[in-house]
Symmetry: C2
Subunit: 144 residues, 2 copies
């Protein structure tokens, strides 16, 4: 265990340092994961808007990625980490409602991935709007 | 298609704007995905270093997340996006070598997830070091 431990010290510390800019690690994580989500969701949105040609393989891949990513932001919403971030303190005052909205986003993203595997183009593109609404429902109440 | 299109315009644009700080979208994406990777890998590293008690369920979940995330950074390494980022131009001059190192990271992360599902604690902790070495191999040659 000594060797991997030493390697980890050498690797993980600069890796984490290089990526984090401020004292609020949780906020940095939230910012990053939502940015990654927006990157992938952006492609699906562009297809729904007709800005980018529909591509079944790309859509299916991105929808699968989004389904996985949708589960990841929530561990970054630790109590006491609102300061200096876009997260409103209301999150921790209404945790049940916040969690319900987070779950809805996960469910809509999961439905999108299922529809993408089934391949009904219209249903897929409509579902992109439902995912977007789930994003918005949370942002309206809980983001600065 | 009109309605989701409008919703998407309302949702995706501010979502993307809120998350991106500069003109180099690809660099912002790379920064974000590596930060998310570091967040999850950090927990595994802390267990390997004995800084955090070993927890099979947490390890298995994080290793599974890492396996999925390891596939995501590479689409952000588009030609002509080195400027203003930590990516060295050498990436695009040695693309085959860079891709091989990226593949190695994916493979080591995938092995970690398999070992985590099997549950041999020593093998899992040793493999954390191998993943770290795969990170380092790329950073040594291709990161500022």
């Amino acid at each position: 265990m000594k060797k991997p431990a030493l390697i980890m010290l050498a690797i993980a510390a600069p890796l984490l340092n290089a990526c984090s800019g401020g004292p609020n690690e949780a906020a940095e994580y939230r910012h990053s994961i939502f940015h990654v989500i927006a990157w992938h969701f952006g492609t699906l949105g562009a297809m729904a808007k007709g800005e980018q040609p529909f591509d079944q393989a790309v859509f299916e891949r991105k929808a699968g990625i989004l389904e996985n990513l949708s589960k990841l932001p929530w561990e970054g919403f630790q109590e006491g980490t609102a300061e200096g971030s876009d997260a409103l303190p209301a999150i921790w005052e209404n945790r049940d409602d916040f969690d319900a909205k987070a779950n809805r986003f996960e469910e809509e993203a999961s439905t999108l991935a299922s529809l993408a595997r089934e391949g009904d183009q219209q249903a897929m593109l409509d579902q992109v709007g439902k995912v977007g609404q789930a994003c918005k429902a949370c942002h309206d109440d809980y983001r600065k």
